[in-house]
């Protein structure tokens, strides 16, 4: 049974990698044979050369650190603001009910398009990126903190009451530890949406980081470099999301 499953997984992996290699071969052939213009699609061999050039000239890991730094700083600020606000929305339930619908609508709204407003207020600098990241990150943390505190098991609350715990002790010893998996779901959503928002803003404003790197390649009309930068951003975002997912799985198991 185990061997059959492993064989099937290996088959899936082999076909997946094989089809990727076939796609790369088709791209190479279609450009070198003149089917597709070099100004539209770059042959993978040129993309590889461009990737090596980008690695030496553009310092992509510096761009990565810049993007990650702003993203994590925005999330740090959002946790500092969103956790107490989420607690307040749970503690004062009328306010929670009044604002829940609004926060849900704001979460689904295209907040990224508010950036001209912050550009006007703060200028084209890190402040705009940070505040946009914070706006994106705060709402899921607030909503999930409230949800996490609302769904704490009544059995745990009764245990706390039977020990005559104060309200503060109940919060720190019982409610927060029990709500952590749900709260981290909010933080995970924040980490995903904030990275996407920061990369998009860097791209729109040509303001460094991973998004700025892709935008710069396009502006220079360096087509192989553009493809290499896009592949780099996609691979890095994949690693980032896997790490975030891994942390959540670990937290659930603890």
């Amino acid at each position: 049974m185990m061997t059959a499953m492993r064989l099937r997984s290996l088959g899936v992996l082999a076909v997946g990698l094989g089809s990727l290699a076939a796609l790369a071969g088709l791209a190479e052939y279609s450009v070198t044979s003149g089917w597709v213009s070099k100004f539209v699609l770059s042959p993978p061999s040129e993309v590889w050369v461009a990737a090596v050039e980008i690695y030496h000239d553009e310092k992509p890991f510096g761009a990565l650190l810049s993007t990650l730094g702003i993203t994590l700083a925005a999330i740090f600020l959002a946790v500092g603001f969103g956790l107490p606000c989420g607690w307040a929305l749970w503690r004062y339930q009328t306010f929670g009910r009044a604002y829940e619908g609004w926060l849900g609508a704001l979460f689904a709204s295209p907040k990224l398009l508010l950036y001209p407003l912050f550009l006007v207020l703060f200028g084209r600098n890190l402040g705009t990126l940070l505040i946009m990241g914070w706006v994106t990150a705060t709402i899921p943390i607030m909503l999930k903190t409230r949800e996490g505190l609302m769904t704490v098991s009544p059995v745990l609350l009764n245990v706390g009451r039977s020990f005559n715990l104060t309200e503060r002790q109940m919060l720190w010893k019982i409610m927060l530890p029990s709500a952590i998996p749900v709260i981290f779901t909010g933080i995970r959503l924040s980490m995903i949406y904030t990275l996407i928002a920061i990369v998009a803003l860097e791209f729109l404003l040509n303001f460094g980081g991973l998004g700025g790197m892709v935008g710069e390649m396009y502006d220079r009309y360096n087509i192989p470099g553009m493809y290499a930068a896009i592949v780099f951003v996609v691979l890095l975002s994949l690693v980032y999301f896997r790490i975030v997912q891994g942390i959540q799985t670990w937290l659930r198991s603890v």
Binding site: G11, F39, A98, P116, V199, V214, V234
Partner: protein, 274 residues
């Protein structure tokens, strides 16, 4: 009737407006008051925080202009065309990946890798392939909508009661009959959920593409006003964009809730039945 209701609630001593609504009204008035105070304080450079009266005057002026509707139509056309293409591709491929599980497993890795990636980085490719006109914006909307729709369709396919599929096959249903009589009726709720998410990201994707490089659409209009430092007009366009995006989301949520209430099979029902 309404008067009787009002009289009754007054007689019973219950407030006409609930506590949540009072908090909401107070919040709106508080934010509006703070905005007006900031606008008149002189703390900010001219028109960076314009009076709400100026913003509403700009909004009114826009709504009365024919050119505004040209931009509104361009964005609506790009969003709806791209959303339709992306959704149809998402539903079609989602069903295919659900039926042909080996193919589905092979594609899972690629779809899961690309789905959460910031789609905006693909915009340069779309502009190189489709140009800087309407085509690249439609492609951006289609690509943005595709991933949530295909993911929820595949998830829905995996939760269809196997008995339904066996019944379809025992009646010798053809591929199209299986799709129209078995798969699609079982997929209504997961697909609607995917469409709701897809429409939201299609709107964002289109507007970002318009902001980056275009010559028409609401995103173009907003960024043009920013560059011309016509801030009240910029705020007016942003209000329209937010109203449209939130309205579209509310509409899709309502459809989703209504179908759920009517007892349309959803993922959990199907999994329970299986």
């Amino acid at each position: 009737m309404a008067e009787i209701g009002l009289a009754r609630s007054a007689a019973a001593g219950t407030p006409l407006v609930g506590p949540e609504a009072r908090i909401q009204i107070a919040t709106v008035l508080g934010v509006w008051g703070m905005w007006e105070a900031l606008a008149r304080s002189g703390l900010f450079y001219r028109d960076i925080v314009p009076s709400s009266l100026k913003v509403f005057a700009a909004l009114y002026a826009h709504l009365a202009e024919a050119e505004f509707y040209h931009h509104l139509w361009t964005t609506t056309y790009e969003v709806l065309t791209g959303f339709t293409i992306g959704s149809l591709a998402g539903i079609g491929l989602g069903i295919l990946f659900g039926v042909r599980r080996f193919l589905g497993r092979v594609m899972d890795g690629y779809i899961l890798a690309l789905a959460p990636a910031p789609k905006v980085v693909f915009l340069p490719i779309l502009m190189v392939v489709f140009g800087i006109g309407v085509g690249s914006k439609i492609a951006m909307a289609a690509m943005s909508a595709f991933f949530p729709v295909v993911l929820s369709t595949v998830a829905g396919m995996l939760l269809i009661n196997p008995t339904f599929i066996k019944v379809g096959r025992s009646f010798n249903a053809g591929p199209w009959q299986m799709v129209s009589k078995v798969y699609l009726p079982s997929l209504v709720l997961p697909v609607i959920t995917g469409l709701r998410l897809g429409l939201g990201v299609a709107i964002i994707g289109t507007l970002i593409a318009e902001i980056k490089l275009s010559n028409a659409g609401l995103g173009f209009l907003a960024i043009q006003y920013y560059e011309m430092f016509r801030i009240p007009e910029m705020y007016a366009v942003i209000i329209v964009i937010f109203a449209l995006a939130m309205g579209a989301n509310a509409l899709m949520t309502k459809v989703n809730d209504r179908l759920g209430r009517r007892g349309m099979p959803n993922a959990s029902d199907i999994s329970g039945a299986a």
